[in-house]
């Protein structure tokens, strides 16, 4: 059924169709309409789930962890400062191998107080051991939630489905909402190997001596390394059932490109428009949209960028004292694996400043004009 819905509600419908059993959330700013609709669905018996309203995001994640341990399929959503408050528990969820799925609306971190988009909130949680997937359309948000449950429950690692504030979260688009029966066929019920139950007592997350801790982390990394293949496999299954392929990256007109943009989030879609405009001007441009950021899809990125002539990475985030974070990651992924390719790093759109096709065209032109990067960061649209 096709419906015009906002990105926040794409997350809600994704959780509903996935038959989430426990939803725990803090209901006030920076929360969005995601859990508002889910609480209605629970109250109206559209969704047979326990809705737990808590006093903070820290407690939201804590109750998700408890519910997941008890064997429930668990969902929550947050944003910005709320995600930061969860930080400690993000480690608990991944370290304890609990396949919670969470929606995060990418909002800039305060101060200055902001409700507008950039990626520093979720990228600050890069090393917490969560799968991170950055979406570009409301359809992709809904599809990705369903797929994320499948991936997370198979590999027992939690997933964060990320979308830009306002540009997706409050923007209405046409979304094909799949039939429940088809989603049920794609996503079987959650049946963990071990659960927290009085009938069969186990201790979880106890003291772990140097004798064992290292191996737990080794196993988490080894399983993370399996995730790209798992995402491709589940994407293929998804495509067979629903006609859409929720993959690792999206390469658009990259084959013969003289300049390849690397983008993420909604910028990854606006960049397609810029690429088409550049091609009409006779400039061979391409766009590689990175959708899955953790685990970093090394293999496919090396394959696509290995053929590139010049690469221009656009970051809506910054690691202060370093570079844009996707820029760092792309450079480290291809260094030593491909021929020497000039890679340029751009920072644009922090705190929700708009990123237009014209901005992206300017970025491509800049990279084409220079032989090598001359600045650590090229700033787009900043008032200096």
């Amino acid at each position: 059924m096709k419906k015009v819905i906002m990105g926040n509600h794409s997350l809600s419908y994704g959780a509903m169709l996935s038959r989430a059993q426990v939803i725990s959330a803090y209901p006030i700013t920076p929360q969005t309409q995601v859990v508002e609709l889910l609480s209605e669905m629970c109250a109206n018996n559209v969704l047979d789930a326990k809705f737990i309203k808590v006093e903070s995001e820290h407690s939201a994640m804590a109750s998700c962890i408890g519910a997941s341990l008890a064997g429930a399929r668990t969902f929550t959503a947050t944003s910005a400062q709320g995600l930061a408050l969860m930080h400690e528990l993000l480690h608990w969820a991944s370290g304890g191998r609990m396949p919670v799925v969470m929606g995060n609306i990418n909002r800039a971190m305060a101060p200055g107080w902001s409700i507008w988009t950039d990626q520093n909130d979720s990228l600050s949680q890069r090393d917490t051991g969560w799968i991170q997937i950055y979406c570009s359309s409301n359809q992709e948000v809904l599809d990705t939630v369903i797929q994320a449950f499948k991936v997370s429950e198979k590999i027992m690692i939690p997933s964060m489905v990320v979308l830009d504030a306002f540009v997706l979260s409050h923007t209405y688009e046409v979304v094909d909402i799949p039939d429940q029966e088809k989603v049920d066929a794609y996503l079987p019920p959650f049946k963990p190997e071990f659960t927290l139950t009085p009938d069969d007592p186990h201790a979880f997350g106890g003291l772990t001596s140097p004798e064992h801790y290292f191996e737990l982390r080794y196993m988490l990394q080894k399983d993370m390394e399996k995730v790209p293949a798992l995402i491709q496999e589940t994407a293929k299954e998804f495509e067979e059932m629903f006609g859409r392929y929720p993959g690792l990256v999206e390469a658009y007109r990259c084959e013969d490109a003289d300049v390849t943009l690397v983008t993420s989030g909604t910028v990854g879609y606006t960049a397609r428009v810029a690429v088409d405009m550049l091609r009409e001007e006779g400039i061979k441009a391409g766009n590689l949209r990175i959708k899955v950021f953790r685990p970093f899809p090394f293999e496919i990125i090396r394959k696509i960028l290995g053929e590139a002539r010049k690469v221009a990475v656009v970051d809506r985030n910054i690691s202060y004292g370093h570079h844009g974070i996707f820029y760092e990651e792309v450079k480290s992924a291809i260094y030593g694996f491909t021929k020497d390719i000039p890679i340029f790093g751009f920072i644009a759109g922090l705190g929700g400043r708009d990123i237009t096709p014209e901005d992206l065209k300017g970025i491509a032109h800049y990279a084409l004009k220079k032989d090598r990067p001359e600045e650590e960061i090229v700033w787009i649209g900043v008032k200096k």
Binding site: W116, A165, T171, E173, V174, T270
Partner: protein
């Protein structure tokens, strides 16, 4: 691609109007993208809403700066702000007003249409003269003037999207469609 900007005041249902219009057009099999002004809304302050319409998927996620058409839900805004900012030549300005298009004195390069949505809303008992709920009447008029679809899609979208006074809202949309 068609890009439309809505002007209203906080509390008048301007964002809802853009959403109902998006629903109606999506029913015709087109792609739509509707978004409010990104920020916080205050009752009575000028607000904006935006709508893109296309036959193919819409990838541009940047904001609309040069709309093809503008819709003015509250006529007092014409005095307060420049509702034609960035508007393309030949574009329509559709105003909720009891005046004739000529009386509004917009530059010749734009097309102007007026619809007395306030009168239609009050007649169908949607709000009061002081605070009329005009969004469904506006949508009916816009669909007619811009030839965006048929009235059946609008009525369906109104009935689905407006749970309160569904019949009255549908009747207002229909009357505005016929009068525009």
């Amino acid at each position: 691609m068609i890009e439309i900007r809505f002007h209203g005041r906080g509390g008048q249902g301007t964002v809802v109007a853009s959403k109902i219009l998006a629903d109606a057009i999506a029913k015709e099999g087109k792609y739509v993208q509707a978004y409010p002004e990104f920020g916080v809304e205050r009752r009575g302050a000028p607000v904006f809403a935006f709508l893109r319409i296309d036959d193919k998927p819409i990838y541009d996620k940047s904001r609309i700066y040069a709309p093809d058409h503008v819709i003015v839900v509250d006529p007092t805004l014409i005095e307060a702000i420049d509702v034609t900012e960035g508007l393309k030549e030949g574009g329509w300005i559709i105003v909720n007003s009891d005046k004739n298009p000529e009386q509004l004195k917009f530059p010749q390069k734009f097309n102007v249409a007026t619809i007395n949505a306030t009168h239609i809303a009050v007649k169908h008992k949607l709000g009061t003269m002081a605070a009329p709920i005009v969004n469904t009447a506006i949508v009916g008029a816009v669909v007619k003037v811009l030839k965006l679809g048929n009235i059946e899609s609008v009525l369906e979208a109104v009935k689905e999207g407006v749970p309160a006074k569904s019949e009255e809202n549908a009747a207002a949309a229909k009357e505005a469609y016929e009068k525009a």
